[in-house]
């Protein structure tokens, strides 16, 4: 069974249709890249999968392991294993990163009927993961993302991914605002999480990121639809010729 099936999805925002029948199937163990120009609806797709309010689904469906994802609250989706690494992670002053991580992890475990992590186990795990991502411990004492650089915010998203162990990771423009070193650290973190049990959807405007996170399948999105799918060569082709050729197809 496919892990994620998006079928003929139509989505409106404030009376305007943004996604006009989008179809996408992702299997366990695969890494899919979604490429497309600004405004083609990539973030909209990721938000609808994660359950962000403000989007009206007027047609189609999203199945996760065969279950209707659109019927689930965002927290339930997270507990089921859906993780969205945000394009713009928010700052949450007054909520210490460590408190946030522990509360979120235990909320997910509780929703799945698993026991909560003990404090030493949790601390050991955070320490292990943050070390591999080059995240200093004192950053974890600060408010969530407060005063973090762009690169630190993205690494914090990857840290959560590693900690929560989701089965579907959607990375929305993970490369935006990152210099090459920051990008490499974040991409290494993501690559370390590749596994036959886990799928990833890497959303990006640029081919650059795909040099670091090499996809199995590449989709081109334009004007709210997937207009072409292919292997990783498709990304290189796009890099050479640009998105213009797809604008009419959409």
């Amino acid at each position: 069974m496919a892990l994620l099936e998006v079928k003929d999805l139509q989505v409106r925002v404030e009376e305007r249709e943004i996604l006009h029948g989008l179809t996408l199937t992702v299997n366990e163990g695969q890494v899919h890249a979604i490429m497309g120009p600004n405004g083609s609806g990539k973030s909209t797709l990721s938000h609808v999968i994660a359950g962000k309010p403000g989007y009206e689904v007027t047609g189609g469906q999203i199945l996760f392991r065969g279950e209707d994802l659109l019927e689930m609250s965002p927290d339930m989706r997270a507990a089921k294993g859906v993780f969205l690494a945000f394009q713009y992670p928010v700052e949450i002053p007054g909520v210490a990163t460590m408190t946030f991580l522990r509360t979120a992890l235990n909320a997910q475990r509780k929703a799945r009927g698993e026991s909560e992590y003990s404090t030493p186990d949790f601390l050991r795990k955070v320490r292990e993961v943050s070390k591999s991502l080059n995240i200093p411990q004192d950053m974890l004492k600060r408010g969530v993302n407060v005063g973090f650089s762009g690169g630190e915010k993205k690494r914090n998203e990857v840290l959560q991914m590693a900690l929560f162990e989701p089965s579907l990771c959607i990375l929305d423009e993970m490369d935006s605002g990152l210099d090459i070193d920051a990008l490499r650290i974040a991409a290494d973190g993501v690559n370390a999480l590749r596994s036959p049990k886990r799928a990833m959807v890497v959303i990006t405007h640029y081919q650059r990121l795909l040099n670091y996170i090499v996809p199995d399948v590449v989709h081109v999105m334009s004007k709210g639809r997937v207009v072409k799918s292919g292997g990783k060569e498709l990304a290189l082709e796009l890099e050479a010729s640009g998105y213009a050729q797809f604008e009419d197809a959409a």
Binding site: A50, G51, K52, P53, S73, P74, D75, R77, A78, A79, L84, F86, P89, V90, I92, P93, G94, V95, T99, F100, T103, A104, L105, A107, Q108, A111, G143, Q160, F164
Partner: protein, 434 residues
């Protein structure tokens, strides 16, 4: 000419309150005379109502209607219930002074341990000598009523230079239903002394009851004082408390108030900075749900130059709750180089929640730096969604953001142990949210 007898909303004569209690009110004949005079003032004014400017948002006539009869002195079962409440609310390591239904309960208090570090008497004892503690400069009706009816209280004197090794926790416990209790206390802190005073208001069984409390605080030069008030009365209770604080020179005075209970409550604090170079930090949190009405009114009077005052207030209002914060900063003509700031923020958790924030500056000196800000708004949807997308259910996501919001006031409490105690009360409030 006919003299109309003042009646309450329920048709009882207002004077019954006093006459039926008179036999139980402690004091020498001069004290009783002072009480009678105070009661006449109250009778003339009646409960405050919205046409009295200071009470505009908290109309006690409409919200409370009438004052309940004085609570009987607690009997053995009441003291047993109170003992259980003390266990639940006591701060680890603090020296406890317990008042049950307005009567000092020596058996529940740590009088011996306290005596080694501070002077202690009950109000009842001091009233055998004179009526001094019943007098205040205020003309407020609720304060007059408190003077007339106060049955007991704690009178603390902390010697010059004394460094208290543990906080003093005054615990007010209500066990009597459909009754009112009146307490009045004094805390006199000597020069260079260091002390932490915590006041906790809780119920032990009683649901509908009324509390009137007054606290007179004087702080000597160079002292360092933390004064924390935690009002967690029963959801149907009424609590009206008045603080009169006079601060000397080069003092650090840290005040914190938290309201998590009572159907109707008002804390009115009158803080006078009467000595140069003092720093006041006055902060608070109102946590209100259902139809609770919580009013914090603070008047900070800069009477002398070179003092700093900082006020951070947070209100979280759910359901049809109504929070009032009135903050007035007065800067007297002599009080040059005053630095006074006040920041009030209200978080509205429902469409019917209400916040009245009224900051006021009355500045009569020219070389000062004063300012205030007030905001009211809902929880940020994008933050809520981030937390939910990470697996937190709606209520838990809200709770985390609410804790962060009130944290900005709570973090002003320096002592780790006390701060944790206060956070614990806030967490229990969050758990009570439906």
């Amino acid at each position: 000419m006919n003299v109309a007898v003042a009646k309450t909303g329920k048709g009882r004569a207002v004077s019954d309150l006093f006459t039926s209690a008179e036999g139980r009110l402690p004091g020498s004949p001069t004290v009783i005379a002072a009480r009678r005079e105070a009661f006449e003032t109250y009778e003339r004014l009646g409960l405050p109502h919205r046409r009295i400017e200071e009470w505009k948002y908290t109309d006690l006539r409409a919200l409370v209607g009438e004052v309940l009869p004085l609570a009987a002195a607690p009997d053995a079962p009441a003291l047993k219930r109170a003992a259980d409440a003390v266990k639940a609310y006591a701060i680890a390591g603090a020296r406890k002074l317990v008042l049950v239904d307005g009567v000092f309960a020596a058996d529940l208090s740590d009088v011996k341990a306290l005596a080694a570090e501070a002077g202690f008497k009950t109000l009842r004892e001091t009233l055998e000598k004179d009526a001094g503690l019943l007098k205040t400069a205020s003309t407020d009706a609720v304060i007059a009523l408190n003077a007339a009816m106060a049955t007991d209280g704690v009178v603390l004197s902390i010697a010059d230079g004394a460094q208290l090794s543990a906080p003093i926790q005054i615990i007010h416990i209500a066990t009597a239903a459909s009754a009112s209790s009146f307490t009045r206390s004094q805390v006199a802190v000597g020069k260079g002394a260091r002390a932490t005073i915590v006041e906790s208001f809780v119920a032990a069984g009683a649901k509908t009851y009324q509390i009137s409390d007054a606290v007179l605080v004087t702080v000597g030069d160079d002292a360092d004082v933390a004064h924390i008030r935690l009002m967690d009365d029963a959801p149907d209770a009424v609590n009206v408390t008045s603080h009169f604080v006079t601060v000397g020179a080069n003092v650090k005075f840290n005040f914190f108030n938290m309201t998590t209970g009572a159907a109707v409550s008002r804390l009115q604090g009158f803080i006078t900075l009467a000595g140069d170079g003092s720093e006041l930090s006055a902060n608070g949190v109102n946590l209100l749900q259902k139809t609770e009405h919580g009013d914090t009114t603070l008047v900070v009077d800069h009477a002398v130059p070179n003092c700093v005052s900082r006020e951070v207030f947070r209100a979280v209002i759910d359901d049809r709750g109504h929070s009032v914060f009135q903050g007035r900063i007065i800067v007297r003509p002599d009080a040059q180089k005053t630095d006074g700031k006040m920041m009030i923020r209200a978080l509205l958790l429902s469409d019917e929640a209400e916040a009245d924030n009224k900051p006021e500056l009355e500045i009569f000196a020219d070389d000062v730096s004063c300012g205030h800000g007030a905001t009211a708004g809902a929880l940020d949807d994008s933050l809520l969604f981030y937390l939910k997308a990470r697996g937190l259910p709606e209520k838990q996501a809200q709770a985390l953001l609410i804790q962060a919001f009130v944290g900005e006031a709570i973090e002003q409490i320096a002592d780790d142990n006390l701060r944790e105690h206060v956070i614990g009360i806030a967490e229990r409030w969050l758990e009570r949210r439906s």
